[in-house]
Protein backbone atom coordinates (compact mmCIF):
# COMPACT_ATOMS: atom_id res chain seq x y z
CA UNK A 1 0.00 0.00 0.00
CA UNK A 2 1.37 3.41 -0.94
CA UNK A 3 -0.03 6.52 0.72
CA UNK A 4 2.44 8.90 -0.92
CA UNK A 5 1.20 11.41 -3.45
CA UNK A 6 3.27 11.75 -6.61
CA UNK A 7 5.76 14.61 -6.90
CA UNK A 8 3.40 16.34 -9.33
CA UNK A 9 0.42 15.99 -7.01
CA UNK A 10 2.54 17.46 -4.20
CA UNK A 11 3.50 20.35 -6.45
CA UNK A 12 -0.10 20.98 -7.49
CA UNK A 13 -0.99 21.19 -3.81
CA UNK A 14 1.87 23.56 -3.08
CA UNK A 15 1.15 25.85 -6.03
CA UNK A 16 -2.64 25.94 -5.51
CA UNK A 17 -2.14 26.66 -1.80
CA UNK A 18 0.23 29.47 -2.64
CA UNK A 19 -2.21 30.88 -5.20
CA UNK A 20 -5.17 30.61 -2.84
CA UNK A 21 -3.32 32.32 -0.01
CA UNK A 22 -2.03 35.16 -2.16
CA UNK A 23 -4.92 35.76 -4.56
CA UNK A 24 -8.08 34.53 -2.84
CA UNK A 25 -7.55 34.88 0.92
CA UNK A 26 -7.13 38.69 0.88
CA UNK A 27 -10.47 39.28 -0.89
CA UNK A 28 -12.61 36.27 0.07
CA UNK A 29 -14.31 38.01 2.99
CA UNK A 30 -15.10 41.14 1.01
CA UNK A 31 -16.55 39.23 -1.99
CA UNK A 32 -18.67 37.20 0.42
CA UNK A 33 -19.90 40.30 2.19
CA UNK A 34 -20.80 42.06 -1.07
CA UNK A 35 -22.22 38.86 -2.56
CA UNK A 36 -20.02 39.47 -5.57
CA UNK A 37 -18.88 36.97 -8.20
CA UNK A 38 -15.41 38.04 -9.39
CA UNK A 39 -14.80 37.57 -13.09
CA UNK A 40 -11.23 38.77 -12.63
CA UNK A 41 -10.45 36.12 -10.02
CA UNK A 42 -12.14 33.42 -12.11
CA UNK A 43 -9.94 34.33 -15.06
CA UNK A 44 -6.85 34.20 -12.84
CA UNK A 45 -7.87 30.73 -11.67
CA UNK A 46 -8.23 29.79 -15.31
CA UNK A 47 -4.77 31.11 -16.14
CA UNK A 48 -3.01 28.72 -13.79
CA UNK A 49 -5.08 25.80 -15.08
CA UNK A 50 -7.85 25.25 -12.55
CA UNK A 51 -10.41 24.54 -15.27
CA UNK A 52 -10.37 21.45 -17.46
CA UNK A 53 -7.95 19.70 -15.13
CA UNK A 54 -8.94 16.19 -16.24
CA UNK A 55 -9.52 17.16 -19.89
CA UNK A 56 -6.98 15.96 -22.45
CA UNK A 57 -4.63 18.32 -24.25
CA UNK A 58 -6.60 17.80 -27.48
CA UNK A 59 -9.14 20.24 -26.10
CA UNK A 60 -6.59 22.39 -24.27
CA UNK A 61 -7.24 20.78 -20.92
CA UNK A 62 -4.54 20.23 -18.32
CA UNK A 63 -4.52 16.42 -18.75
CA UNK A 64 -4.04 15.68 -15.06
CA UNK A 65 -5.24 12.79 -12.97
CA UNK A 66 -8.40 12.97 -10.88
CA UNK A 67 -6.57 13.15 -7.54
CA UNK A 68 -4.73 16.28 -8.69
CA UNK A 69 -8.08 17.88 -9.51
CA UNK A 70 -9.49 16.91 -6.11
CA UNK A 71 -6.38 18.25 -4.35
CA UNK A 72 -6.78 21.55 -6.20
CA UNK A 73 -10.44 21.89 -5.12
CA UNK A 74 -9.46 20.93 -1.56
CA UNK A 75 -6.77 23.62 -1.40
CA UNK A 76 -9.08 26.33 -2.77
CA UNK A 77 -11.84 25.27 -0.34
CA UNK A 78 -9.34 25.51 2.50
CA UNK A 79 -9.39 29.24 1.88
CA UNK A 80 -12.79 29.97 0.34
CA UNK A 81 -15.88 27.88 -0.40
CA UNK A 82 -17.25 30.23 -3.04
CA UNK A 83 -14.22 30.02 -5.32
CA UNK A 84 -14.00 26.28 -4.76
CA UNK A 85 -17.64 26.08 -5.89
CA UNK A 86 -16.84 27.96 -9.09
CA UNK A 87 -13.98 25.51 -9.78
CA UNK A 88 -15.80 22.32 -8.75
CA UNK A 89 -18.99 23.17 -10.66
CA UNK A 90 -16.98 24.48 -13.61
CA UNK A 91 -15.05 21.23 -13.94
CA UNK A 92 -17.43 18.53 -12.79
CA UNK A 93 -20.74 19.95 -14.00
CA UNK A 94 -19.84 22.43 -16.75
CA UNK A 95 -16.88 20.85 -18.53
CA UNK A 96 -17.37 17.21 -17.46
CA UNK A 97 -20.56 16.31 -19.40
CA UNK A 98 -19.34 17.97 -22.61
CA UNK A 99 -15.96 16.23 -22.34
CA UNK A 100 -17.35 12.80 -21.48
CA UNK A 101 -20.47 12.71 -23.68
CA UNK A 102 -20.09 15.45 -26.31
CA UNK A 103 -19.41 14.97 -30.01
CA UNK A 104 -15.99 15.88 -31.40
CA UNK A 105 -17.52 19.04 -32.84
CA UNK A 106 -19.11 20.08 -29.52
CA UNK A 107 -15.85 19.47 -27.68
CA UNK A 108 -13.82 21.50 -30.18
CA UNK A 109 -16.36 24.29 -30.07
CA UNK A 110 -16.70 24.75 -26.31
CA UNK A 111 -13.89 23.06 -24.36
CA UNK A 112 -10.85 25.20 -25.24
CA UNK A 113 -12.50 28.38 -23.92
CA UNK A 114 -13.97 26.61 -20.89
CA UNK A 115 -10.60 25.00 -20.06
CA UNK A 116 -8.88 28.39 -20.23
CA UNK A 117 -11.36 29.84 -17.72
CA UNK A 118 -12.50 32.34 -20.34
CA UNK A 119 -15.99 30.91 -20.23
CA UNK A 120 -18.25 29.01 -17.82
CA UNK A 121 -20.97 26.46 -18.47
CA UNK A 122 -23.92 25.54 -16.24
CA UNK A 123 -25.55 22.16 -15.68
CA UNK A 124 -29.33 22.49 -15.45
CA UNK A 125 -30.80 19.62 -13.51
CA UNK A 126 -32.68 20.74 -10.38
CA UNK A 127 -36.12 22.27 -10.90
CA UNK A 128 -38.33 24.24 -8.52
CA UNK A 129 -40.45 21.14 -7.97
CA UNK A 130 -37.78 18.45 -8.56
CA UNK A 131 -34.86 18.25 -6.15
CA UNK A 132 -33.92 14.86 -4.75
CA UNK A 133 -36.71 13.45 -6.92
CA UNK A 134 -34.91 14.18 -10.18
CA UNK A 135 -37.47 12.03 -11.97
CA UNK A 136 -40.11 14.60 -11.16
CA UNK A 137 -38.70 17.26 -13.45
CA UNK A 138 -41.02 18.90 -15.94
CA UNK A 139 -38.79 20.64 -18.48
CA UNK A 140 -39.48 19.25 -21.95
CA UNK A 141 -37.73 19.27 -25.31
CA UNK A 142 -39.70 18.40 -28.44
CA UNK A 143 -38.09 17.78 -31.80
CA UNK A 144 -39.70 19.95 -34.46
CA UNK A 145 -38.01 19.45 -37.81
CA UNK A 146 -34.30 20.09 -37.24
CA UNK A 147 -34.75 21.85 -33.93
CA UNK A 148 -35.37 21.04 -30.29
CA UNK A 149 -37.99 23.24 -28.72
CA UNK A 150 -37.39 23.53 -24.98
CA UNK A 151 -39.84 24.68 -22.31
CA UNK A 152 -39.50 24.73 -18.55
CA UNK A 153 -37.29 26.11 -15.79
CA UNK A 154 -34.32 25.15 -13.60
CA UNK A 155 -33.10 26.44 -10.25
CA UNK A 156 -29.87 26.66 -8.16
CA UNK A 157 -27.64 26.36 -11.24
CA UNK A 158 -24.01 27.32 -10.52
CA UNK A 159 -21.99 29.44 -13.00
CA UNK A 160 -25.03 29.91 -15.25
CA UNK A 161 -25.78 33.64 -15.07
CA UNK A 162 -22.55 35.63 -15.08
CA UNK A 163 -20.78 37.51 -17.86
CA UNK A 164 -18.47 34.54 -18.40
CA UNK A 165 -21.36 32.11 -18.90
CA UNK A 166 -21.37 30.71 -22.44
CA UNK A 167 -24.34 28.40 -22.03
CA UNK A 168 -25.88 25.52 -20.11
CA UNK A 169 -26.51 21.81 -20.42
CA UNK A 170 -30.19 21.26 -19.72
CA UNK A 171 -31.79 17.95 -18.86
CA UNK A 172 -35.26 17.65 -20.40
CA UNK A 173 -37.96 15.09 -21.04
CA UNK A 174 -37.76 14.06 -24.69
CA UNK A 175 -40.29 11.24 -24.76
CA UNK A 176 -41.65 8.22 -22.92
CA UNK A 177 -39.73 5.00 -22.33
CA UNK A 178 -41.16 1.54 -22.95
CA UNK A 179 -41.95 1.17 -19.24
CA UNK A 180 -44.04 4.32 -19.32
CA UNK A 181 -41.52 6.47 -17.44
CA UNK A 182 -40.22 9.72 -18.95
CA UNK A 183 -37.18 9.59 -21.21
CA UNK A 184 -34.52 12.21 -20.52
CA UNK A 185 -31.91 13.77 -22.77
CA UNK A 186 -29.32 16.51 -22.19
CA UNK A 187 -29.23 19.41 -24.62
CA UNK A 188 -26.73 22.23 -24.96
CA UNK A 189 -28.18 25.73 -24.98
CA UNK A 190 -25.95 28.71 -25.72
CA UNK A 191 -26.35 32.01 -23.95
CA UNK A 192 -28.27 34.48 -26.07
CA UNK A 193 -30.60 31.88 -27.63
CA UNK A 194 -34.02 33.57 -27.93
CA UNK A 195 -36.40 32.54 -25.16
CA UNK A 196 -33.57 31.45 -22.81
CA UNK A 197 -33.15 33.58 -19.71
CA UNK A 198 -30.69 33.13 -16.82
CA UNK A 199 -31.34 35.20 -13.69
CA UNK A 200 -28.78 35.40 -10.86
CA UNK A 201 -30.08 34.30 -7.45
CA UNK A 202 -29.22 36.52 -4.49
CA UNK A 203 -29.61 36.62 -0.72
CA UNK A 204 -27.79 33.31 -0.30
CA UNK A 205 -26.57 32.26 3.13
CA UNK A 206 -23.42 30.63 1.74
CA UNK A 207 -21.16 30.54 -1.34
CA UNK A 208 -22.06 34.19 -1.68
CA UNK A 209 -19.23 34.92 -4.12
CA UNK A 210 -20.22 32.13 -6.48
CA UNK A 211 -22.76 32.60 -9.26
CA UNK A 212 -26.11 30.82 -8.89
CA UNK A 213 -28.95 31.08 -11.39
CA UNK A 214 -32.54 30.39 -12.17
CA UNK A 215 -33.03 29.36 -15.79
CA UNK A 216 -36.14 29.93 -17.87
CA UNK A 217 -36.82 28.25 -21.22
CA UNK A 218 -39.71 29.70 -23.19
CA UNK A 219 -39.99 28.00 -26.59
CA UNK A 220 -36.19 27.95 -26.88
CA UNK A 221 -35.13 26.56 -30.25
CA UNK A 222 -31.70 24.96 -30.70
CA UNK A 223 -30.36 22.82 -33.57
CA UNK A 224 -30.97 19.07 -33.40
CA UNK A 225 -27.18 18.53 -33.17
CA UNK A 226 -27.10 20.22 -29.74
CA UNK A 227 -28.15 17.02 -28.04
CA UNK A 228 -25.45 15.58 -25.77
CA UNK A 229 -24.76 11.99 -26.78
CA UNK A 230 -27.82 10.00 -27.80
CA UNK A 231 -31.51 10.71 -27.27
CA UNK A 232 -32.57 9.05 -24.04
CA UNK A 233 -29.08 9.06 -22.48
CA UNK A 234 -29.88 12.00 -20.23
CA UNK A 235 -30.63 10.14 -17.03
CA UNK A 236 -27.47 8.06 -17.25
CA UNK A 237 -25.35 11.07 -18.10
CA UNK A 238 -26.78 12.89 -15.10
CA UNK A 239 -26.02 9.99 -12.73
CA UNK A 240 -22.47 9.66 -14.03
CA UNK A 241 -21.90 13.40 -13.81
CA UNK A 242 -23.13 13.46 -10.24
CA UNK A 243 -20.89 10.52 -9.26
CA UNK A 244 -17.84 12.55 -10.31
CA UNK A 245 -19.36 15.72 -8.89
CA UNK A 246 -19.67 14.06 -5.49
CA UNK A 247 -15.92 13.70 -5.31
CA UNK A 248 -15.47 17.43 -5.85
CA UNK A 249 -18.11 18.27 -3.24
CA UNK A 250 -16.26 15.88 -0.94
CA UNK A 251 -13.09 17.83 -1.68
CA UNK A 252 -14.87 21.02 -0.70
CA UNK A 253 -15.90 19.45 2.61
CA UNK A 254 -12.40 18.16 3.23
CA UNK A 255 -10.74 21.47 2.33
CA UNK A 256 -13.29 23.47 4.30
CA UNK A 257 -12.81 21.23 7.33
CA UNK A 258 -9.05 21.66 7.08
CA UNK A 259 -9.42 25.43 6.69
CA UNK A 260 -11.75 25.67 9.69
CA UNK A 261 -9.41 23.48 11.73
CA UNK A 262 -6.38 25.61 10.77
CA UNK A 263 -8.19 28.73 12.01
CA UNK A 264 -9.31 27.05 15.24
CA UNK A 265 -5.86 25.64 16.05
CA UNK A 266 -4.16 28.96 15.41
CA UNK A 267 -6.68 30.83 17.52
CA UNK A 268 -6.51 28.29 20.35
CA UNK A 269 -2.74 28.66 20.55
CA UNK A 270 -2.93 32.46 20.62
CA UNK A 271 -5.94 33.06 22.83
CA UNK A 272 -5.10 33.13 26.52
CA UNK A 273 -7.54 32.64 29.36
CA UNK A 274 -6.78 31.89 33.01
CA UNK A 275 -3.12 32.57 32.26
CA UNK A 276 -2.46 30.10 29.45
CA UNK A 277 -3.30 29.46 25.80
CA UNK A 278 -6.74 27.82 25.61
CA UNK A 279 -5.21 25.00 23.49
CA UNK A 280 -3.69 23.77 26.76
CA UNK A 281 -7.11 23.15 28.27
CA UNK A 282 -8.35 19.64 27.74
CA UNK A 283 -11.83 20.84 26.77
CA UNK A 284 -10.32 22.61 23.76
CA UNK A 285 -7.44 20.21 23.05
CA UNK A 286 -9.79 17.22 22.80
CA UNK A 287 -12.05 19.06 20.36
CA UNK A 288 -9.02 19.79 18.18
CA UNK A 289 -7.76 16.21 18.46
CA UNK A 290 -11.16 14.92 17.29
CA UNK A 291 -11.11 17.36 14.37
CA UNK A 292 -7.62 16.29 13.31
CA UNK A 293 -8.63 12.62 13.44
CA UNK A 294 -11.82 13.09 11.45
CA UNK A 295 -10.06 15.16 8.79
CA UNK A 296 -7.46 12.42 8.42
CA UNK A 297 -10.22 9.80 7.96
CA UNK A 298 -12.07 12.02 5.50
CA UNK A 299 -8.95 12.57 3.40
CA UNK A 300 -8.16 8.86 3.24
CA UNK A 301 -11.71 7.96 2.24
CA UNK A 302 -11.98 10.65 -0.43
CA UNK A 303 -8.56 9.96 -1.94
CA UNK A 304 -9.36 6.27 -2.09
CA UNK A 305 -12.55 7.02 -4.02
CA UNK A 306 -10.51 9.15 -6.45
CA UNK A 307 -7.93 6.43 -6.76
CA UNK A 308 -10.66 3.95 -7.67
CA UNK A 309 -11.98 6.33 -10.33
CA UNK A 310 -8.49 6.99 -11.70
CA UNK A 311 -7.93 3.25 -11.96
CA UNK A 312 -11.26 2.74 -13.76
CA UNK A 313 -12.71 0.69 -10.94
CA UNK A 314 -16.19 1.02 -9.57
CA UNK A 315 -16.20 4.07 -7.27
CA UNK A 316 -19.86 5.05 -6.92
CA UNK A 317 -20.29 3.74 -3.37
CA UNK A 318 -17.06 5.34 -2.16
CA UNK A 319 -17.96 8.59 -3.93
CA UNK A 320 -21.26 8.74 -2.03
CA UNK A 321 -19.45 7.88 1.21
CA UNK A 322 -16.75 10.47 0.55
CA UNK A 323 -19.27 13.22 -0.24
CA UNK A 324 -21.37 12.40 2.80
CA UNK A 325 -18.53 11.93 5.25
CA UNK A 326 -16.45 14.93 4.17
CA UNK A 327 -19.41 17.30 4.28
CA UNK A 328 -20.48 16.07 7.72
CA UNK A 329 -16.90 16.21 9.01
CA UNK A 330 -16.76 19.82 7.89
CA UNK A 331 -20.03 20.44 9.71
CA UNK A 332 -18.62 19.09 12.97
CA UNK A 333 -15.22 20.75 12.54
CA UNK A 334 -16.55 24.24 11.81
CA UNK A 335 -19.00 23.89 14.70
CA UNK A 336 -16.07 23.19 17.04
CA UNK A 337 -14.05 25.92 15.35
CA UNK A 338 -16.68 28.59 16.02
CA UNK A 339 -17.10 27.32 19.59
CA UNK A 340 -13.35 27.58 20.16
CA UNK A 341 -13.41 31.16 18.83
CA UNK A 342 -16.11 32.05 21.36
CA UNK A 343 -17.79 35.39 20.75
CA UNK A 344 -15.27 36.31 18.05
CA UNK A 345 -16.39 33.29 16.03
CA UNK A 346 -19.74 34.99 15.60
CA UNK A 347 -18.21 38.07 14.01
CA UNK A 348 -17.58 38.58 10.30
CA UNK A 349 -14.08 39.89 11.03
CA UNK A 350 -13.15 36.29 11.73
CA UNK A 351 -13.08 34.00 8.70
CA UNK A 352 -14.38 31.07 10.69
CA UNK A 353 -17.87 32.61 10.52
CA UNK A 354 -17.82 32.26 6.70
CA UNK A 355 -16.70 28.63 6.90
CA UNK A 356 -19.58 27.95 9.31
CA UNK A 357 -22.11 29.26 6.78
CA UNK A 358 -20.48 27.81 3.65
CA UNK A 359 -20.56 24.32 5.13
CA UNK A 360 -24.32 23.91 5.07
CA UNK A 361 -24.61 23.66 1.32
CA UNK A 362 -22.42 20.57 1.23
CA UNK A 363 -25.03 18.53 3.08
CA UNK A 364 -27.69 19.64 0.58
CA UNK A 365 -26.19 20.20 -2.89
CA UNK A 366 -25.44 17.48 -5.45
CA UNK A 367 -27.48 14.93 -3.56
CA UNK A 368 -28.48 15.62 0.06
CA UNK A 369 -26.94 13.63 2.90
CA UNK A 370 -30.14 11.61 2.96
CA UNK A 371 -29.83 10.76 -0.73
CA UNK A 372 -26.19 9.70 -0.18
CA UNK A 373 -27.38 7.35 2.57
CA UNK A 374 -29.94 5.88 0.18
CA UNK A 375 -27.19 5.34 -2.42
CA UNK A 376 -24.88 3.69 0.13
CA UNK A 377 -27.63 1.56 1.62
CA UNK A 378 -28.49 0.20 -1.85
CA UNK A 379 -24.83 -0.67 -2.44
CA UNK A 380 -24.58 -2.60 0.80
CA UNK A 381 -27.72 -4.58 -0.05
CA UNK A 382 -30.39 -3.06 2.14
Amino acid sequence: MDFDLTKEQEMIRKEVRNFAQKEIAPIAGELDEKEEFSEKLTRKMGEIGLFGMFVSEDYEGQAMDYISYIIAVEEIARVDGSQAATIAAGNSLGIGPIFYFGTEEQKQKYLPKLCAGEGLWGFGLTEPTAGSDAGGSKTTAVLEGDEWVINGSKIFITNAACDLTMGVTVQAITGTRDNGKPEYSCILVEKGTPGFKAVPMHKKMMWRASNTAELYFDNVRVPKENILGKKGDGFHQMLQTLDGGRLSIGAMGLGGAQGGFDLALKYAKEREQFGQPISKFQAIAFKLADCAMEIECARNLLYKACWLKSNHRSFEKEAAMGKLYCSEVMSRVVDHAVQIHGGYGLMKEYNVERFYRDQKLLEIGEGTSEVQRIVISRFIGC
Binding site: E8, I48, E57, M64
Partner: protein
Amino acid sequence: MKICVCVKHVPDTAATIKLAGDTAFDDADVKFISNPYDEFGIEEAVSIVEKEGGEVVIVTIGKEAATSTIRSAMAMGAHRAIHVKTDGQFLDSTLTARALKAVMEEDGLPDLIFTGKGSVDTESFQTQYRLAKSLGLPIVNEVSTLTLEGQKAIAQREIGGGEKQVLELGLPCVIGATKGLNEPRYPKFPDIMKAKKKEIKEMALSELGINEADAKVTMEKMEAVPERSGAKMIEGSVDDQVTELVRILKEEEKVI
Protein backbone atom coordinates in the same frame (compact mmCIF):
# COMPACT_ATOMS: atom_id res chain seq x y z
CA MET B 1 20.99 34.50 -24.47
CA LYS B 2 21.96 32.21 -21.63
CA ILE B 3 20.85 33.32 -18.18
CA CYS B 4 21.76 31.66 -14.91
CA VAL B 5 19.52 32.21 -11.89
CA CYS B 6 20.90 31.31 -8.47
CA VAL B 7 18.03 29.98 -6.39
CA LYS B 8 18.12 29.06 -2.72
CA HIS B 9 15.81 26.64 -0.94
CA VAL B 10 14.86 28.35 2.35
CA PRO B 11 12.46 27.81 5.25
CA ASP B 12 9.27 29.85 4.94
CA THR B 13 9.61 32.94 7.12
CA ALA B 14 6.14 32.17 8.50
CA ALA B 15 7.22 28.70 9.66
CA THR B 16 7.64 27.91 13.33
CA ILE B 17 11.28 26.95 13.82
CA LYS B 18 12.14 24.51 16.58
CA LEU B 19 15.82 24.28 17.47
CA ALA B 20 17.42 20.86 17.43
CA GLY B 21 20.78 20.84 19.13
CA ASP B 22 23.13 23.82 19.11
CA THR B 23 23.46 24.58 15.43
CA ALA B 24 20.47 23.09 13.67
CA PHE B 25 16.69 23.18 13.62
CA ASP B 26 14.11 20.45 13.21
CA ASP B 27 12.97 20.74 9.60
CA ALA B 28 10.45 17.89 9.64
CA ASP B 29 7.37 20.12 9.78
CA VAL B 30 8.91 23.22 8.29
CA LYS B 31 7.66 24.35 4.92
CA PHE B 32 10.46 25.24 2.53
CA ILE B 33 10.07 27.66 -0.35
CA SER B 34 12.14 29.34 -3.05
CA ASN B 35 13.89 32.34 -1.59
CA PRO B 36 11.28 35.01 -2.49
CA TYR B 37 13.86 37.47 -3.89
CA ASP B 38 15.23 34.76 -6.19
CA GLU B 39 11.75 34.38 -7.66
CA PHE B 40 11.97 37.92 -9.03
CA GLY B 41 15.18 36.79 -10.73
CA ILE B 42 13.51 33.68 -12.19
CA GLU B 43 10.58 35.70 -13.53
CA GLU B 44 12.86 38.32 -15.07
CA ALA B 45 15.11 35.70 -16.69
CA VAL B 46 12.16 33.74 -18.08
CA SER B 47 10.50 36.83 -19.54
CA ILE B 48 13.76 38.00 -21.13
CA VAL B 49 14.25 34.60 -22.77
CA GLU B 50 10.61 34.46 -23.87
CA LYS B 51 11.23 37.68 -25.79
CA GLU B 52 14.79 37.21 -26.99
CA GLY B 53 15.29 33.46 -27.08
CA GLY B 54 17.92 31.47 -25.25
CA GLU B 55 17.81 29.42 -22.09
CA VAL B 56 17.38 29.87 -18.37
CA VAL B 57 19.50 27.65 -16.13
CA ILE B 58 18.73 27.37 -12.42
CA VAL B 59 21.72 26.84 -10.15
CA THR B 60 20.98 25.71 -6.61
CA ILE B 61 23.43 24.86 -3.88
CA GLY B 62 21.46 23.03 -1.22
CA LYS B 63 20.34 19.84 0.38
CA GLU B 64 18.53 17.00 -1.37
CA ALA B 65 15.06 18.41 -0.61
CA ALA B 66 15.87 21.54 -2.64
CA THR B 67 14.63 19.61 -5.68
CA SER B 68 11.10 20.82 -4.96
CA THR B 69 12.25 24.43 -5.20
CA ILE B 70 14.10 23.66 -8.43
CA ARG B 71 11.00 22.02 -9.94
CA SER B 72 8.95 25.11 -9.06
CA ALA B 73 11.47 27.29 -10.89
CA MET B 74 11.23 25.00 -13.90
CA ALA B 75 7.44 25.12 -13.79
CA MET B 76 7.80 28.91 -14.04
CA GLY B 77 9.66 28.40 -17.31
CA ALA B 78 13.35 27.72 -16.59
CA HIS B 79 14.80 25.19 -19.03
CA ARG B 80 17.20 23.11 -16.96
CA ALA B 81 18.94 23.11 -13.61
CA ILE B 82 22.16 22.22 -11.86
CA HIS B 83 21.87 21.12 -8.25
CA VAL B 84 24.99 20.99 -6.11
CA LYS B 85 24.12 18.97 -3.05
CA THR B 86 25.10 19.89 0.47
CA ASP B 87 24.54 17.97 3.69
CA GLY B 88 22.88 20.70 5.68
CA GLN B 89 20.94 23.91 5.20
CA PHE B 90 23.82 26.24 5.95
CA LEU B 91 26.87 26.79 3.78
CA ASP B 92 28.79 30.00 4.21
CA SER B 93 28.71 32.68 1.52
CA THR B 94 32.35 32.09 0.50
CA LEU B 95 31.82 28.44 -0.34
CA THR B 96 28.41 29.05 -1.89
CA ALA B 97 29.92 31.66 -4.22
CA ARG B 98 32.83 29.35 -5.03
CA ALA B 99 30.44 26.53 -5.89
CA LEU B 100 28.32 28.81 -8.08
CA LYS B 101 31.41 30.04 -9.90
CA ALA B 102 32.71 26.50 -10.48
CA VAL B 103 29.34 25.34 -11.82
CA MET B 104 29.01 28.28 -14.20
CA GLU B 105 32.55 27.89 -15.49
CA GLU B 106 31.99 24.21 -16.12
CA ASP B 107 28.61 24.73 -17.77
CA GLY B 108 29.78 27.70 -19.84
CA LEU B 109 29.60 31.28 -18.58
CA PRO B 110 26.16 32.88 -18.97
CA ASP B 111 25.41 36.29 -20.50
CA LEU B 112 23.53 37.35 -17.41
CA ILE B 113 23.29 36.14 -13.82
CA PHE B 114 20.42 36.75 -11.41
CA THR B 115 20.47 36.28 -7.67
CA GLY B 116 18.05 37.54 -5.05
CA LYS B 117 19.10 40.66 -3.13
CA GLY B 118 19.73 38.31 -0.21
CA SER B 119 18.31 35.14 1.26
CA VAL B 120 15.60 35.28 3.89
CA ASP B 121 17.13 32.58 6.09
CA THR B 122 20.72 33.65 6.83
CA GLU B 123 20.49 37.22 5.48
CA SER B 124 24.23 37.52 4.95
CA PHE B 125 23.80 39.52 1.72
CA GLN B 126 27.23 38.43 0.50
CA THR B 127 27.00 35.59 -1.98
CA GLN B 128 26.15 37.70 -5.03
CA TYR B 129 29.07 40.09 -4.39
CA ARG B 130 31.52 37.25 -3.85
CA LEU B 131 30.30 35.52 -7.00
CA ALA B 132 30.61 38.67 -9.11
CA LYS B 133 34.08 39.43 -7.75
CA SER B 134 35.35 35.93 -8.36
CA LEU B 135 34.08 35.98 -11.95
CA GLY B 136 35.36 39.52 -12.46
CA LEU B 137 31.89 40.79 -13.33
CA PRO B 138 30.09 44.01 -12.44
CA ILE B 139 27.19 43.73 -9.99
CA VAL B 140 24.22 45.80 -8.86
CA ASN B 141 22.14 44.63 -5.94
CA GLU B 142 18.53 45.44 -5.03
CA VAL B 143 17.52 46.06 -8.63
CA SER B 144 13.87 47.01 -9.03
CA THR B 145 13.86 47.89 -12.74
CA LEU B 146 15.98 46.34 -15.47
CA THR B 147 16.24 46.93 -19.21
CA LEU B 148 18.64 45.34 -21.64
CA GLU B 149 20.02 47.28 -24.60
CA GLY B 150 22.35 45.22 -26.72
CA GLN B 151 25.39 44.42 -24.60
CA LYS B 152 24.32 46.79 -21.84
CA ALA B 153 22.07 46.42 -18.84
CA ILE B 154 20.40 49.50 -17.35
CA ALA B 155 19.55 48.80 -13.73
CA GLN B 156 17.61 50.97 -11.32
CA ARG B 157 17.77 50.66 -7.57
CA GLU B 158 16.14 52.55 -4.76
CA ILE B 159 18.62 54.27 -2.50
CA GLY B 160 16.27 55.65 0.12
CA GLY B 161 14.38 58.91 0.49
CA GLY B 162 12.46 58.15 -2.69
CA GLU B 163 15.65 58.52 -4.74
CA LYS B 164 16.59 56.10 -7.50
CA GLN B 165 20.03 55.33 -8.79
CA VAL B 166 20.33 54.36 -12.46
CA LEU B 167 23.38 52.30 -13.37
CA GLU B 168 24.67 51.04 -16.68
CA LEU B 169 26.60 47.77 -16.76
CA GLY B 170 28.21 45.81 -19.54
CA LEU B 171 27.10 42.22 -20.02
CA PRO B 172 27.76 39.75 -18.58
CA CYS B 173 26.90 41.03 -15.13
CA VAL B 174 25.24 39.99 -11.88
CA ILE B 175 21.84 41.43 -10.94
CA GLY B 176 20.53 41.11 -7.37
CA ALA B 177 16.76 41.14 -7.79
CA THR B 178 14.25 42.63 -5.38
CA LYS B 179 10.58 43.47 -5.04
CA GLY B 180 9.27 45.72 -7.79
CA LEU B 181 11.29 44.10 -10.58
CA ASN B 182 8.22 42.13 -11.70
CA GLU B 183 5.31 40.03 -10.44
CA PRO B 184 6.48 36.40 -10.39
CA ARG B 185 3.98 34.26 -12.30
CA TYR B 186 2.08 31.30 -10.87
CA PRO B 187 3.12 28.15 -12.67
CA LYS B 188 0.44 26.72 -14.97
CA PHE B 189 -0.48 23.09 -14.27
CA PRO B 190 0.67 21.75 -17.65
CA ASP B 191 4.02 23.46 -17.00
CA ILE B 192 4.24 21.71 -13.64
CA MET B 193 3.82 18.41 -15.48
CA LYS B 194 6.41 19.37 -18.09
CA ALA B 195 8.82 20.48 -15.37
CA LYS B 196 9.27 16.91 -14.22
CA LYS B 197 10.76 15.99 -17.58
CA LYS B 198 13.32 18.81 -17.57
CA GLU B 199 16.91 18.00 -16.79
CA ILE B 200 18.38 18.49 -13.33
CA LYS B 201 22.10 17.80 -13.28
CA GLU B 202 23.08 16.73 -9.80
CA MET B 203 26.57 16.84 -8.34
CA ALA B 204 28.25 16.78 -4.98
CA LEU B 205 30.09 19.76 -3.57
CA SER B 206 33.24 17.64 -3.47
CA GLU B 207 33.07 17.07 -7.24
CA LEU B 208 33.73 20.81 -7.59
CA GLY B 209 36.79 20.48 -5.37
CA ILE B 210 35.05 22.17 -2.46
CA ASN B 211 35.28 20.91 1.07
CA GLU B 212 32.63 22.07 3.55
CA ALA B 213 35.32 22.13 6.22
CA ASP B 214 37.00 25.05 4.46
CA ALA B 215 34.14 27.39 5.31
CA LYS B 216 35.28 30.81 6.49
CA VAL B 217 32.26 31.12 8.73
CA THR B 218 31.13 28.36 11.02
CA MET B 219 27.91 28.19 12.97
CA GLU B 220 28.66 28.39 16.68
CA LYS B 221 25.19 28.44 18.10
CA MET B 222 21.61 28.98 17.05
CA GLU B 223 19.28 30.59 19.53
CA ALA B 224 15.69 31.67 19.51
CA VAL B 225 15.26 35.43 19.59
CA PRO B 226 14.46 36.18 23.24
CA GLU B 227 10.91 37.30 23.80
CA ARG B 228 10.72 40.94 24.74
CA SER B 229 9.81 41.41 28.36
CA GLY B 230 7.05 43.82 29.17
CA ALA B 231 7.63 47.51 29.86
CA LYS B 232 7.90 48.60 33.45
CA MET B 233 6.03 51.75 34.37
CA ILE B 234 7.67 54.03 36.91
CA GLU B 235 5.18 55.91 39.03
CA GLY B 236 5.46 59.07 41.12
CA SER B 237 6.49 62.70 40.63
CA VAL B 238 8.90 63.59 37.83
CA ASP B 239 11.78 63.85 40.34
CA ASP B 240 10.97 60.45 41.85
CA GLN B 241 10.65 58.88 38.40
CA VAL B 242 14.06 60.21 37.29
CA THR B 243 15.74 59.10 40.51
CA GLU B 244 14.22 55.62 40.18
CA LEU B 245 15.16 55.39 36.49
CA VAL B 246 18.77 56.30 37.19
CA ARG B 247 18.89 53.79 40.04
CA ILE B 248 17.56 50.99 37.76
CA LEU B 249 19.99 51.84 34.99
CA LYS B 250 22.89 51.83 37.46
CA GLU B 251 22.03 49.02 39.82
CA GLU B 252 19.72 46.62 37.98
CA GLU B 253 20.64 46.98 34.32
CA LYS B 254 24.21 48.17 35.07
CA VAL B 255 24.39 50.21 31.89
CA ILE B 256 25.56 53.51 33.38
